[in-house]
Structures are given as structure tokens and as C-alpha cells.
Amino acid sequence: MSPLANSIVEIFSTLTLFGQGVAVFLLAILITKKFFPKEKNCQKIAKFISENYTTGIFFISAVATAGSLSFSEVANFTPCKLCWFQRIAMYPIGLISFVSMIKSDDGVKKYALPLSLIGLVIAGYHILVQTFPKALECSDEVAKCSAKEFAQYGYITIPVMAFTAFLLIALLAFFAPKTSKK
């Protein structure tokens, strides 16, 4: 791996690790909000997230898009079939959430949630393919889905990154203000 590719991997692995922390935090907030609705600090945080959830979704999907493009275009990892399916789910979220952020439309949840759940399933399957390469083989001469380009910290591979991003987007979608439902 070239030093450039190495540093790209390191940057996005660190972001993924951070993202996983944020995901746990969001989940905790969601649960607290649900079962302890009188907790004031939690409500405050939830309100802030709710007000900015479109921006959050935009930010995560844009970073994921930049990450996937820098892996394929700068680090020269050839995207495999499953990677392409995940891209199909991820790239539109970035574009749609960008437009709704600019238009101050709170309704991005309607599109981001199904797209992120579809992506989540594909990323999960891809992680399985990499963990048990023989049981679920998906092969192509140029880019094998089961091949790990890298495994930072022992477990962060490209589908793990995608899984984290999709999870964050799905979690954020649950913070969507209720008024957006007509």
C-alpha cells in the first residue's frame, strides 16, 4: 500500500472509530428519551440534535462519499460488487440531504431512513462475506468482495466504515422533528 493510501485509511478509520462512539451516544439518548422523558439534559440534547438532524445526515453521508471516492480514486482500491451496491445507497443520501438542508426542509427522514436501512443490510452482508469468505463467496476476478484491503485496529474494514455511516444516518433519522410528518 502506498503511503498516501495508508494515510487515507488512517484518517477514515479514526473517523469511523469516532463515529461508532457517536452512534452509541445517539442510541443512549434515544433510549433515555423514550424511557425517562423527564430527564431535562437529555431533552435538551435531543432537541439540539433534532434541530440539526438534516445537517448531521448531510455531514455523515458527505464524509462517507468523500471516503469511498478517495479509496477508489486516490488510493486505487477497485470497488467490488457489494461496494457498488452500498455506494448506490450512500451517494443519494448526501445529495438529497444537501438539498433539504439548503431548503430548510425537515422531511429528509422519509428518504434517508429507507436508503440507510438498505445500505445497512448490504454492509452487514459484506461484513459477513469478509468474516466467512468461504461460506458466502462472491467473487470477481478484479475485485473480490471477500478480500480485505485493510483491517485497521483489527476490525475496521471498508464495509465496517459503511455500516457505521449507515447506522449513524438511520439513528439521526429517528431524531427527525415530529412536525415533518403531514
Partner: protein, 288 residues
């Protein structure tokens, strides 16, 4: 949402108001919603700024990588061809040959990495053959195996069969046949009967053919050619190298001819001088 509601209210009340009053109301309403939005704006702008910076870096990265790829050093330094594969030329009489009949002719070399089970290779096969006929004694094709073993289960057996036919000097006749009947044998779980049928049709010695098919050295040679292709940057089949330089597969024979004509033009026209018998050069040295 709130904005739309107020808008409706304005419209409901609009009947009793003048146009000017309505306009003012709208302005007021707009200002209010802007104030509401301003709170969220700082977060929004931070996100936009960070993401724009990220994409700017990405764009610079892509440009830099593209520049690196185009440097000629990267191109010429990486391709190396061992003396393997099968050579095909067509003489001015339209006959098959392995070397030029005219030692003074300038020869353009094409190296093709191909998979006999690959439908794209089948499409290119007659084009290349036509090309060889269009430049008799001038274009030399070196056919190299690049079996895509993981997606084409019959790629390796067909390559071995072709090699076995090659032992009886019928390599290209055999692959002509294989490409022509690709739909027949490529989906078969065991194509051996078909391979033998084609060998019979070309009146090959069947016993020898069957024995040569199991030759481990042929398999090693095929794998070596594939390895060589990988290190030369082959990612799919067919991949063509013109005078050692990887080219995008031309869309048709006319495009192919243009590329070859360009190569013929750039070469020094020393052919006319080499007619004197004393300086009759070794044909190998003439190859650029």
C-alpha cells in the same frame, strides 16, 4: 411548515386587504422565518465548510493521482513481456505464419491477453484476425492466456486444450474454432467431449491431444502468462498492448487501423535502404 401555515392564514385573510398590505405581511412573515432559521445556520455552515474542504482535498488528490498515472515513466517501466504465448501473422498470400516473410518490413507488435471463455474476447477475435490480414507481414500478434478462473470455470480447460492443439501446430485454428463455438461449450459442466470433437474436426492426433491436455508444464505456462498480465496491469480481457504500450481496446477495426498507422508513420523509414544484400539485417533487429 410553520411558514406554510402562516401563508395560508394570509391568503385566508387576503380578501379584506389591499395588495400593498398583503405584500407587507408577506415580507414580515419572511423575516420571522429567517430569524427562526438563523439559529440553525451556524451548524449548517460549519458542516458545509468542512465538507467543501474535504471535497477540495479529494479533488486535488484525484488530480494528482491522475497526473502520476500519465507520466510516461510509469507506463514504460512497468510492462515486460516474456517470450511466451503464440505468435500469429498473416502473409500477403493470406496464409498463416509465425514470422514475417519479408525481412525488411517494419513490424508492429500487438500483445493480446485473452480468456477463451470471455465473450468480449470472442467479439475481438475476428477483428484482430481481419487486422492481421489487412497488414500482411506487418502486424504481429502475440496471444497470451489470461484465464479468468474464478468467473469462467471452463477458461482453464479451454486454454489447456488450445495448448494441446498448439503442440500439433494448430493453436490458432483451434482457438478460431473455440471462439466460434463459445456458446456451445462455455456453459457445459464438462466440456471435454466438445474439445475432443473440435480436435477431431481439425484432424488432430486425438490420443496425443488428450495426453497433452494433462501436461502440467502447459498449465504452468498459462499461469505464468496470467501472472505476467497481472504485473503488466491487466484487469480484464481482452487487453491489448501496441508496441508494448497498453491501449484502450479500440471500438472497431477502423480505430485499430488508425493506431497501427500512427505507429507505422512514427517509425524511421529505413526499410528502403536495407535492400542491399551486404546489409541484410537480422529480422529480429528490425523490430522496434
Amino acid at each position: 411548515m410553520t411558514r406554510m401555515l402562516t401563508c395560508n392564514i394570509i391568503e385566508d385573510m387576503a380578501e379584506g386587504l389591499t395588495k400593498k398590505q398583503i405584500k407587507e405581511l408577506r415580507k414580515l412573515e419572511k423575516l420571522q422565518s429567517r430569524n427562526l432559521e438563523q439559529k440553525n445556520n451556524s451548524v449548517k455552515w460549519i458542516a458545509i465548510a468542512v465538507v467543501s474542504a474535504l471535497f477540495l482535498v479529494l479533488f486535488v488528490g484525484i488530480v494528482l493521482v491522475a497526473k502520476n498515472k500519465n507520466t510516461p515513466a510509469a507506463n514504460t517501466g512497468s510492462t515486460q513481456f516474456a517470450d511466451t504465448g503464440h505468435v500469429r501473422m498473416i502473409t500477403s498470400k493470406g496464409e498463416e505464419a509465425t514470422a514475417s516473410a519479408d525481412p525488411s518490413a517494419q513490424i508492429v507488435s500487438i500483445v493480446e491477453y485473452a480468456d477463451l471463455q470471455c465473450p468480449a474476447c470472442k467479439t475481438y477475435h475476428p477483428i484482430v484476425k481481419e487486422l492481421l490480414a489487412a497488414y500482411p507481414d506487418r502486424v504481429k500478434l502475440t496471444f497470451k492466456h489470461y484465464p479468468l478462473v474464478s468467473i469462467h470455470p471452463n477458461a482453464m480447460p479451454s486454454a489447456l486444450a488450445a495448448e494441446a492443439a498448439g503442440k500439433q501446430n494448430k493453436f490458432f485454428e483451434y482457438i478460431d474454432m473455440l471462439y466460434e463455438k463459445q456458446e456451445v461449450w462455455s456453459a457445459l459442466p464438462n466440456p471435454q467431449a466438445k474439445f475432443e470433437e473440435y480436435a477431431k474436426a481439425l484432424s488432430l492426433d486425438l490420443e496425443r491431444f488428450k495426453k497433452d491436455q494433462k501436461d502440467p508444464s502447459a498449465e504452468k505456462s498459462i499461469n505464468d502468462q496470467r501472472e505476467e498480465g497481472i504485473s503488466n496491469g491487466v484487469t480484464g480481457t481482452p487487453t491489448f498492448y501496441l508496441e508494448g504500450e497498453k491501449i484502450e481496446s479500440p471500438v472497431g477495426i477502423e480505430e485499430f487501423k488508425k493506431l497501427i498507422d500512427a505507429k507505422l508513420k512514427t517509425a524511421t523509414p529505413q526499410n528502403s535502404e536495407s535492400t542491399s544484400p551486404t546489409s541484410a539485417p537480422d529480422p529480429l533487429q528490425l523490430q522496434p
